[in-house]
Symmetry: C2
Subunit: 439 residues, 2 copies
């Protein structure tokens, strides 16, 4: 594309909300962008729980990265995983050994699950970060009902019909609500040997309230809605062990004696830690990542004394206007992406920077089952149908491709009317063999 | 459900076209049906190639079996694999060891790939029978382009951009056409290091013409359309070896010296053999399955001297009106399913049977890329746009759920206008690691 002098080379690692908005923001700027991701698609993570419960197909919430950037001629998409960052030579190394040089690096690889040091829990309690996570959870949830249809042992039946969601943040609340919806409505008439409505969904949260990042009024509203749906919410309750056939918890903030919940299906929505790229970039800049692997960044999203290294999104640890760290939410990543694109564009053209990054908090929201949600924006809090419509509108708005918007809207409309969930396929492993231990 | 005398127990193994139509046909009949399948969904196999090339999502062509039978109260769905058939005790055994007794058994488990005794070819040349097959082929095709973007070796580039489809039946023709469409239209502007239109799609067929089951006029039309699309069709050409990096073929009906085609992606659409259940049922009835594992059945679809054992669909070997074996097509299976449902219903009510099964041949059709198809019905043959519209109409008509019809129609319309394929996700294995040997 370029002719004459070599252009400023920008390498963006990660095609999530942060990286995508950074790359898009650099459209028409005099730079050459290389967008590196391990996957060939951008994933709309906020709707992943709908894939995990069979309401949407994976492709509905994913957009091929190449497709999104095919007309942006200054952007090249590269499939690969960054395994090393050389701050002195200014290049990143991919898993296949090839090096990609940069003038400016933007690290935006986000976060992954965190099991508080108990890595062995992962096999029994998958988290919800990738398409494969979602189809695996879908497989486990649906297989539990299938096995329930075959069993003749009442104790085993009880275990199979108990679902535990660990973590009462937005993802945990949405997962618990969706599993319950699935059981009491979607598959209501599907089985002959048991009543799906008899299933137990238990939401375990370590703090004294659900949706800890929201205002207390909304936590209360959400709790009320969850209980009304028949979800067993256990607050102030710490998970101390996870096995193939159960979860051990300590109630009363971990001070009361532990007890076991027998269950065949555990979903992990409790902790996240930053992608390992964070530590690599921190080391290259001579700063230290925090315990969760996040990189402390300057007010302009650069790291240490390196104006050429940017870290954004879940990978970054940055204080907001109130002095508290900015939350790991899509809007933060998107705004940081736009901000660094602007900053890099100005530099490439020799202009002055615009000042520090300011997060514009448009609010937070979470759905709880069918047509219920809680939301707050600018101190204004609302819940119920209105919040649900707002949720629906905003999620459709930010879905990456027009086609997906229509497909998702139609499926939501259809599911709302018929209470059906079309995408409840057990795939990946032979469904009849799911009686074996997972792993 | 039943009260008083025990009802006639019908066990149907397989929820494909044959089994599903048999179970549906027995709705309201005084029988208790158990429908056993290894998967929890009915799959519309004729559109599987569209999943393999990213045009549709798996859930669009699958329908949860429980959902389809939830209101048919005389039908119970059981997830499981039948591992033994006891003709004397009249029961089938599932993989978990449990036995399901029957008064009448309908075997309808269809067919799987056949590598002519070369089982080791499977890892390099996946077939197209299951959802996992389709997403695996999708992963391989898309990954080949991704690796092509990264390579700097012109020989490797050539190998990565060569796609071989083995078998010139409807599936092979449709796959070859779709891969070529994908390359020259969908991903046309997606890459920076090479031109996707430079890809080679080679269709290898052992017989002297493609679509061997169709009239010669249509074979010629199809060949013409394939060549016009830029597909390299090699007729009368036998595959003698398949490795990770190439295919060895012998042209001229296997009489000329062998040569190699270097390729990273091979799709197998050449041979099928019956599911192992065929042999079990044949043995229970004291007859012998043919070389492809198909069970020779009586004119009423029963086996040997056993009026209580039915075999239908791809699993059955039955002569048509012309004395030739009926083809392994969805309409044959569906009509046989309806026929045996009627026969069983009559028996359960003590009525006389209606005479032998007669296949009503409504015709055959195949698409070749965008808006082109060939079809024949009642000696009337047509091709081009009209055939394509007929193909479209019939496939939508037979899709199992109303919701899927709308979703598929919309995606087809959208793909037709934009030439986009939304579902081109590389999943299942980390995309950046696909450089490693497949397997």
């Amino acid at each position: 594309m370029s002719s004459g002098a070599p252009r400023h080379r920008v390498v963006i690692v990660g095609g999530g909300f942060g990286g995508m908005w950074a790359a898009r923001g650099l459209n028409k700027q005099p730079v050459d962008i290389t967008l590196i991701d391990r996957r060939n698609f951008h994933l709309f993570q906020p709707l992943l729980y709908q894939v995990a419960t069979g309401a949407l197909s994976p492709a509905n919430i994913a957009a091929p990265l190449r497709s999104m950037f095919k007309r942006q001629r200054n952007c090249r998409v590269l499939l690969g995983e960054v395994t090393a960052v050389d701050g002195a030579a200014k290049s990143v190394t991919l898993a296949d050994g090839s090096a990609v040089p940069f003038d400016t690096l933007v690290a935006a690889t986000g976060s992954t699950h965190h099991y508080f040091g108990h890595h062995e829990w992962e096999q029994h309690a998958p988290g919800l970060k990738t398409i494969e996570d979602a189809t695996e959870i879908r497989r486990r949830v649906l297989s539990a009902f299938e096995r329930a249809e075959r069993t003749t042992d009442p104790v085993e039946l009880d275990r199979l019909l108990t679902f535990v969601v660990v973590g009462g943040g937005p993802t945990g609340v949405e997962m618990a609500g969706s599993i319950r919806e699935l059981a009491i409505h979607t598959i209501r008439y599907d089985f002959r040997a048991f009543n799906p409505a008899a299933c137990k969904v238990i939401l375990v949260e370590g703090q004294p309230r659900v949706l800890g990042g929201f205002h207390e009024t909304l936590s209360r509203k959400a709790l009320e809605a969850l209980v009304k749906m028949g979800i067993d919410v256990r607050l102030d309750c710490h998970v101390t062990d996870v096995q193939a056939d159960g979860v051990t918890v300590k109630p009363d903030g971990g001070k009361a004696p532990a007890y076991r919940i027998d269950t065949a299906t555990v979903v992990w929505a409790a902790g996240v830690k930053a992608n390992p790229l964070g530590k690599l970039v921190a080391a290259a800049a001579g700063v230290e990542a925090d315990r969760a692997g996040r990189v402390p960044v300057n007010p302009d999203c650069t790291v240490g004394a390196r104006p050429d290294l940017f870290v954004i999104g879940d990978l970054a640890l940055q204080a907001g206007a109130d002095g508290k760290p900015l939350p790991g939410l899509a809007p933060v990543a998107m705004q940081q992406g736009q901000y660094v694109a602007d900053a890099i564009g100005r530099r490439a053209k020799g202009k002055e920077p615009k000042g520090p990054f300011r997060y514009w908090d448009k609010g937070v929201m979470a759905t709880i089952g069918r047509a219920k949600a809680v939301a707050e924006t600018n101190g204004f809090r609302f819940s119920g149908h209105l919040a649900w419509f707002a949720w629906l509108f905003i999620h459709i708005l930010y879905l990456a491709r027009f086609e997906n918007r229509i497909l998702v809207l139609f499926q939501w409309f259809w599911n709302f009317v018929t209470r059906n969930r079309a995408a409840r396929l057990i795939t990946g492993e032979r469904a009849d063999r799911t009686g074996a231990a997972p792993g």
